[in-house]
Symmetry: C3
């Protein structure tokens, strides 16, 4: 079964999509199987991260921003703005696809795990992910 | 088919789990298919790495430790200890899920590839992975 | 269904394999499903990146080369040459497996997405990926 989820982001950062993905799993009726999510953009990514304390996501975003900074004088791919090239590098360093087992109709995440869409563009955008549910 | 593997780590570093994952594949009876492994924690990860010379894993661990050091003054998520925030960043930079084809009843790894659980907490922990075997 | 693709690389960089992977999908006859690609080497990786402007791939390669440089005095795994240890670290920081949904017989990639084999050794090599097509 294939479905899509669409999220309007309004800036850089981690947007939780666990509930949206679980809704697709629920609608599929799958009791056991595998849920695969793929980001259809190269300037945003996916990650499974701690869903409890927001300071962890804040520090994660900060670390990546400091290590892949805008304005790196080595960048030549700059015509779409200073946040464009960092967004591609950040996407390459994190995940574009995630596959999560389904157990008893639910995503088999750990207690403190959430699924996040990681927006890397300053203005955000409408982001589309494909979700596949297999046996 | 869904199963779990549990590993008691005793500190940072790469712990090989190839044999444990292959045992799950063997028990499933699958001759051809796809084996997906998901780490149920956000302070440890998964990686496929060279299984021959341990110096490669030592240098890999060292590089990541130097680039995501404990005590970074930017970190605010520090109440669980200095190794906590680095562990989440390290997990985000590596894999949380891996999908490996099964050929003739075995994981279709390359000659020098092993599957590793990558512990990022100093004291280690009991780590749980979900394993899904699909057709 | 399982197949393989083999690519002869001649040096570091991103080699597009979207067409080769789509050929495997086409030959499988799958209209809907999941295509998983696994790199069988630990000194090369896989990534989904922008397929339009080559400057993005150039800057991506440059960033990774500067952050995981040859000749790092901390490296002990050096007997296969100065590009060996960086190649394992680069592979760990990017993807070894990718799972891409199939919709209407085609890889459900976004408009600007291409699948790339990322060679990290200076001389290149013959690289082999396993491709699994599931329902």
């Amino acid at each position: 079964m294939i479905d899509h989820i669409e999220i309007r982001t309004r800036g850089k950062g981690l947007h939780e999509i666990t509930g949206m993905v679980q809704s697709v799993v629920g609608a599929s009726g799958a009791e056991e199987g595998l849920c695969t999510i793929m980001m259809q953009h190269t300037s945003a990514g996916l990650t499974i991260q701690e869903n409890a304390d927001p300071s962890a996501r804040h520090d994660l975003e900060g670390w990546l921003d400091r290590h892949v900074p805008e304005g790196d004088p080595h960048f030549t791919h700059v015509h779409e703005g200073p946040d464009d090239m960092p967004s591609h590098i950040k996407a390459a360093l994190t995940a574009t696809t995630l596959s999560i087992p389904i157990v008893r109709g639910a995503l088999a995440l750990g207690t403190w795990q959430g699924i996040y869409l990681w927006e890397h563009r300053s203005r955000g955008s409408t982001r589309r992910c494909v979700v596949h549910i297999g046996a």
